[in-house]
Amino acid sequence: QERSSNNFNYGAYHSLEAIYREMDSIARDFPALVSRVKIGHSFENRPMYVLKFSTAEGRRRPAIWLNAGIHSREWISQATAIWTARKIVSDYGKDPALTSILEKMDIFLLPVANPDGYVYTQTQNRLWRKTRSLNPGSACVGADPNRNWNASFAGEGASDNPCSEIYHGPHANSEVEVKSVVDFIQGHRNFKCFIDLHSYSQLLMYPYGYTIKKAPDADELDEVARRAAKALASLSGTTYQVGPTCTTVYPASGSSVDWAYDNGIKYAFTFELRDTGHYGFLLPANQIIPTAEETWLGLKTIMEHVRDNLY
C-alpha cells in the first residue's frame, strides 16, 4: 500500500535535498521493487543517486537508463524524472505493460545528473546550465556535461572556450558527474536503452548529433520515436518533432546519447520536453504533471519496444 503520509508535491519544483529525500522515501516504501543506489559524486562532492527498479534483485538483467537534469536550468526534466519514479512504483502490478517490462528488465533512473548545477540554479543563478568544475587559467566555471562524453569529443557543435555554454571540458569524462555514469554503465555491461530528458522544444531525437551520417539503426529508431511521439501527443496534443539530432536541431558532439549508441546501447533517445508557450526554461509548476504524464506515454512506448526487441 502506498504510504498515505506521502506529502511530496509532484506538481512543484523542489530542492536537491527534497528530491533525494523523496527518492529515499520511494525506496523505503517499496523495498522489494526499488533501491536508491549511489553511483558517484559531483565536483562539489554531492552524492549522485539513482533509483534502481528491479524485480529480480541480484541478477544483471537487460536494463534501461533514464537520465534527467544534465543541464541544470531545465527544471522540468528533474521534475518529470521524480514524478516518473513515483509512477513506476504506483503502476507496477497494475499496468500490464509496465509490469511486463519490469518482469524482463531493470530500470535505472537518475533524476539529477548535475547536482552542483541544480543547486546553483536554486541559490545563485537560475539560468545556469553547466557543471561547477573549475577551469584552470580561466575565470569561467563549468563545462557542458552534454558535450563531455567520449563520442567525437571536441568535435563540431562544442566549444573549447571555458566561458562558452557549450564548453566541452579539458578532456572526455573530465566532469566527474559524466564519468560516474559512464563507469556505472560500463561496469554493468547490459544496458539496452539510454534516454536523456532535456528541455525545451518538444523534440524526440536519436543519434547522431556529432555527424550528419545516418546511424546504422536510424530507420528503426525513427519508427519507434514516431510511435512514441504519437503516444505522447495523444494525451494533451503536444506535438513533437522527430529525427536525428544533427539535422533536427544542430550539430552537437560529445553527447550522452551518441556515447551510449556508440557503446552498444542501441535504443538511445533524447527528449526535449515542452514549452509549448513562451516560458522557455521557466515552465510554470502547474505544467509539471501534464508534462510528466504525456512524457510517460512516450517513455513507455520506447520501453515496450525494447522489451520486445532485446538484442
Binding site: 512543484a12 519544483y13 541559490t123 555554454e165 525545451y200 522557455g280 509548476a285
Partner: protein
C-alpha cells in the same frame, strides 16, 4: 544571487539561411552578453535569446536594421523568477 531585472527574452523568427547568417553577427557579439536559450540552427527554427536590459536598445536596433522579425516572449525575466521563487517557498512550507 544573479538578478535579471528588465531582462527580456526575444523570439527571433529565422526564415532562411540569409537571415541565419545575419543573426550570427549577434551571436558573436560578446559585449551584448546575450544568452541563447534556443540557439540558431540551419533549420529555420525560431531562436530564443535572453537580452540583458542594458543591451535591449542595441539588439532592437540591430534586428530592425537587418529586417529580422522578432517578438518579446518574456517582458521581465525577474518577475517570472520571483513568481517561481515565491511558489517554491510556499510549497516548501
Amino acid at each position: 544571487r544573479e538578478k535579471f531585472f528588465g531582462d527580456q527574452v526575444f523570439r527571433i523568427n529565422v526564415r532562411n539561411g540569409d537571415e541565419s547568417s545575419k543573426l550570427s553577427q549577434l551571436v558573436n557579439s560578446d559585449n551584448l552578453k546575450l544568452n541563447f536559450w534556443k540557439s540558431p540552427s540551419t533549420f529555420s527554427r525560431p531562436v530564443d535569446v535572453l537580452v540583458p536590459s542594458v543591451s535591449l536598445q542595441s539588439v532592437r536596433s540591430f534586428l530592425k536594421s537587418q529586417g529580422l522579425e522578432y517578438s518579446v516572449t518574456i517582458e521581465d525575466l525577474q518577475a517570472l523568477l520571483d513568481n517561481e521563487d515565491e511558489e517554491m517557498q510556499h510549497n516548501e512550507g
